[in-house]
C-alpha cells in the first residue's frame, strides 16, 4: 500500500487536474480550526499549486445550510474533478481525506 501511494500521486499529478474545494466551517470552533489546518496541510503536501480552496463560514450565510444540505460540520465538498465528494470531520484522518478527494484510490 505504502509503496503505491506515491505512484498514484505521481499519476494524478501528471494529469494536472485542478481541484476545486469548498470547506464549510463554523466560526472559530475547535473542529473548524483543526479542519482548516489539516486540510491546508494535505493540500500543500499532495496537490500543491493545483487546487482552489474556499472556506465558508456558515454562521455568516445561514441560508447556505439548506441549499448545500449541510448537517455535520466541518464539511469539505470536492466539486471538481468529478464525482463530487463530501467529507466531514476535522480532516485528521489523512488516509480518508486523500481517498475521499481521489488523490489516492
Amino acid at each position: 500500500m505504502t509503496n503505491e501511494e506515491p505512484g498514484e500521486v505521481e499519476k494524478n499529478g501528471q494529469e494536472e487536474v485542478e481541484f476545486v474545494l469548498r470547506l464549510y466551517v463554523i466560526g472559530a470552533s475547535s473542529n473548524s480550526v483543526r479542519a482548516i489546518t489539516n486540510l491546508k496541510d494535505i493540500c500543500e503536501t499532495y496537490i500543491k499549486g493545483r487546487y482552489s480552496l474556499d472556506i465558508i463560514d456558515v454562521y455568516q450565510q445561514k441560508e447556505i445550510a439548506e441549499a448545500q444540505q449541510l448537517i455535520a460540520l466541518p464539511l469539505l465538498i470536492k466539486t471538481f474533478p468529478l464525482p463530487e465528494r463530501r467529507l466531514i470531520g476535522d480532516m485528521s484522518d489523512k488516509d480518508r481525506v486523500l481517498r475521499g478527494l481521489g488523490i489516492i484510490v
Binding site: 473542529n31 454562521y59 445561514k62 449541510l70 455535520a72 466541518p74
Partner: protein, 575 residues
C-alpha cells in the same frame, strides 16, 4: 416552585380527538416523541400537527424531513386537502428536506451537527415558527457512523429546542425491545406517544397510546385512530365524564300503538333504543317506520345498513306501506350501506361520526349491530357502541339499533352487551302456538317513563305495523289466528244476540197488534150495544109522543062529537 402557573401550558394539535385525550394538546415548548412501526402514520401525524397549527392556530411551523423530499410530502398531503406549497409561499410553513447518504460521505475525524442546528434555527427564524417536526431524526444514524457524536449532539439538539421554546415533534421508528431503534425516548422525556397498527383477523386497526406525559393528566387507554381523506381522527374510548345534556322532548316511534305503550308519546329525544329479536321478527320494519317518522317531522335521519342494500330496504318497506324514496328525494333521509367486513370497527365508527357531522341528522339507525360481531369481539363491539352512544347523546341524536338474537333461550343476556347501555329496549319475539308463529313485542325497559308491561302482538300487514292487544282467555295468551278466532267468536255472539233481540221485539209487536185489534172489536161491540139501547129509547119516546098525540086527537074529537053525536065518543074509546 418551577410551576407557578400550576398547569402545564399545552399546544393544541388540531387532530380530532387527540386534544381531548391529552387535555389540550402537546406540551408547549417541549419536544414530544412519536414512535411506532413503519406505516403507522407518524409522518402524517406530525405533518397534520404542523399544517393545523399554521391554518387553525396561527402558529407557523418547520417540518424537517429526513425521509421524504418536500415534493413527495406535498403530494402525500395533497390527498388530505392540504396545500403545502401555498402554505410555504405564505411563509406559514417551512419544509426542509435533509438529504443524508452514507455512501456519499467520508468521515475524516471529529465533527458536530452544527450544520443541522444552523439550518433548523434559520428555518425557525424565517417563518417565526412555534412548531417544529423532525421526521425521522434517526435517519441520521444511518447516514453518519459516529454514534457517540450523534448521541451527544442529539442531546444538545433537544436542549436547544427547549431553549428555543418551540413545541416539537420528533418521530422515531419502533425498535426491538425499545420504543425507538436508537433509544430516542432517553432524550425526550416530556411526552411520548406510541402509534401502532394491528391486524387482527385480517382487519387492521390503528391504535394510539400516550405512554408518558410528564406533568399532565392524560388518557392512558389505547385509543383507536383512523387515517382517511381528512387526516387523522382519534376516537376517545369513552368520554371521561357522563355529562350529557338530556332532553325530555318526546319523539314518536312512527307506530301509534307503540307510542301508546310508551305513555302515548314515544321515545325521548337523544335516547338510544335497541330493537332486538330473532330473525324475521320485523326489526328492520320497526326501524324503517322510525326513520320515516323522523323524516315526516322534517328532521334528518341516516340509515346505516350493514345487511341489506338501500334499494332492497326501500323495496321491502314499500310492501308495508312506507315510501322511503320520497324522503331520500326530499333530502331528509340518507342511506349508508356497507358490509361490516369492509372496515375495522373503528373505521365504521369514524364513518358514522363523519356522516353524522356532515348530514346533521336528528336520529340514526344501525341495522343490525349484530353483524359487527363478525369483525370484532363482543367487548370490542361493546366498546365501540359505548363510544357511539356517548357521542350521539352529546349531540342529542336519537339512535335506534337493531340486533339479532341468535338464541331465544338466552336473549335477555346477549345483544352485544349493549342492553344495559341503551335507554329503551324493545324485544320482538316469536310466539309459537297452534302450528303458527306470531310476533309478540315487549318493552323490556324504557328509562324515565311509565311504559306498558304488556306483551302486544305485533302485526305486519300491507297497511303497516300495528300492535294488537293479545287476547287473554281462559287458555292463556292467544295470538294470531287463535286471537282472531276468539275475536270472531265474540263477533258471532254479538250477531246472535242482536238476532234474538229483534225476534223478541217482533213478538211484542205482534202481540200488541193482536191486542189492539181486540180492543177495536170490543169498542165496535160496545158501540153497537149502545146504539141498540139508544134505538129502543128513541122508539119509546116516539111511541109516547104518538100516543100522546093520539089521545089529544081523541079528546079533541070527543069534544066535537058531544055536540053532534054524544054517544059516538064512548064506543071509540072502548076500541
Amino acid at each position: 416552585m418551577a410551576q407557578l402557573n400550576k398547569s402545564l401550558s399545552k399546544t393544541p394539535t388540531g387532530i380530532v380527538g387527540l386534544d381531548e385525550i391529552t387535555g389540550g394538546g402537546l406540551p408547549t415548548g417541549r419536544p414530544t416523541l412519536i414512535c411506532g412501526a413503519a406505516g403507522c402514520g407518524k409522518t402524517l401525524f406530525s405533518l397534520e400537527f404542523i399544517v393545523k397549527g399554521a391554518l387553525d392556530y396561527d402558529e407557523p411551523g418547520v417540518f424537517m424531513a429526513f425521509e421524504e423530499k418536500a415534493e413527495e410530502l406535498a403530494i402525500n398531503v395533497a390527498s388530505l386537502g392540504f396545500d403545502l406549497e401555498a402554505l410555504q409561499k405564505d411563509k406559514k410553513i417551512k419544509v426542509d428536506y435533509v438529504h443524508i447518504e452514507r455512501s456519499e460521505i467520508e468521515e475524516t475525524g471529529e465533527y458536530d451537527l452544527d450544520g443541522l442546528f444552523i439550518r433548523l434555527g434559520y428555518a425557525i427564524d424565517s417563518v417565526k415558527a412555534k412548531r417544529v417536526v423532525l421526521d425521522t431524526i434517526e435517519n441520521l444514524f444511518s447516514g453518519l457512523a459516529n454514534e457517540a457524536i450523534l448521541r451527544a449532539e442529539l442531546r444538545r439538539l433537544f436542549h436547544w429546542l427547549k431553549e428555543k421554546g418551540v413545541t416539537a415533534i420528533i418521530t422515531g421508528e419502533k425498535g426491538e425491545g425499545f420504543l425507538t431503534r436508537q433509544g430516542l425516548e432517553e432524550y425526550v422525556s416530556d411526552c411520548v406517544i406510541l402509534l401502532d397498527h394491528r391486524v387482527i383477523n385480517q382487519i387492521s386497526t390503528r391504535i394510539l397510546r400516550i405512554i408518558k406525559y410528564r406533568g399532565s393528566v392524560h388518557g392512558t387507554n389505547e385509543y383507536p385512530f383512523l387515517i382517511d381523506e381528512e387526516g387523522i381522527s382519534v376516537l376517545p374510548i369513552t368520554a371521561l365524564k357522563l355529562q350529557h345534556p338530556v332532553s325530555s322532548e318526546r319523539v314518536s316511534s312512527g307506530v301509534p300503538s307503540l307510542d301508546q305503550m310508551l305513555e302515548g308519546k314515544g321515545f325521548f329525544r337523544g335516547s338510544s333504543i335497541l330493537v332486538s329479536g330473532t330473525a324475521g321478527t320485523g326489526k328492520t320494519s320497526i326501524a324503517a317506520y322510525f326513520a320515516s317518522e323522523t323524516c315526516k317531522r322534517k328532521e334528518r335521519c341516516i340509515y346505516f345498513a350493514f345487511e341489506e342494500s338501500p334499494q332492497q330496504i326501500i323495496r321491502n318497506m314499500r310492501s308495508i306501506g312506507i315510501d322511503l324514496q320520497q324522503h331520500i328525494d326530499n333530502g331528509y333521509l340518507a342511506f349508508n350501506a356497507s358490509r361490516p367486513t369492509l372496515n375495522g370497527l373503528e373505521m365504521h365508527l369514524l364513518t358514522i361520526h363523519k356522516a353524522v357531522r356532515q348530514f346533521k341528522p336528528s336520529s340514526i339507525i344501525l341495522d343490525p349491530i349484530t353483524n359487527l360481531i363478525t369483525i370484532g369481539s363482543v367487548s370490542e363491539v361493546k366498546g365501540m357502541l359505548i363510544r357511539l352512544i356517548d357521542f350521539l347523546q352529546a349531540e342529542q341524536i336519537t339512535v335506534m339499533f337493531t340486533a339479532l338474537t341468535l338464541n331465544t333461550v338466552v336473549n335477555e343476556q346477549t345483544d352485544e352487551g349493549v342492553s344495559s347501555l341503551v335507554d329503551a329496549w324493545l324485544l320482538v319475539r316469536d310466539i309459537e302456538n297452534n302450528g303458527e308463529r306470531n310476533r309478540g313485542m315487549y318493552i323490556m325497559k324504557s328509562r324515565g317513563m311509565r311504559h306498558s308491561n304488556q306483551v302486544r302482538e305485533f302485526v305486519i300487514s300491507d297497511e303497516g305495523l300495528s300492535l294488537v292487544d293479545v287476547y287473554l282467555g281462559p287458555e292463556g295468551v292467544l295470538t294470531g289466528s287463535a286471537r282472531e278466532a276468539q275475536q270472531l267468536m265474540e263477533e258471532t255472539g254479538i250477531v246472535l244476540r242482536t238476532h234474538a233481540v229483534t225476534r223478541k221485539d217482533r213478538e211484542i209487536e205482534r202481540k200488541r197488534n193482536v191486542l189492539q185489534s181486540k180492543i177495536e172489536s170490543l169498542r165496535a161491540e160496545f158501540e153497537s150495544v149502545s146504539d141498540e139501547l139508544n134505538k129502543s129509547y128513541v122508539e119509546e119516546e116516539l111511541r109516547k109522543e104518538v100516543m100522546h098525540k093520539n089521545r089529544e086527537e081523541l079528546i079533541k074529537k070527543r069534544h066535537n062529537g058531544n055536540s053532534n053525536e054524544p054517544g059516538g065518543d064512548e064506543p071509540r074509546d072502548t076500541k
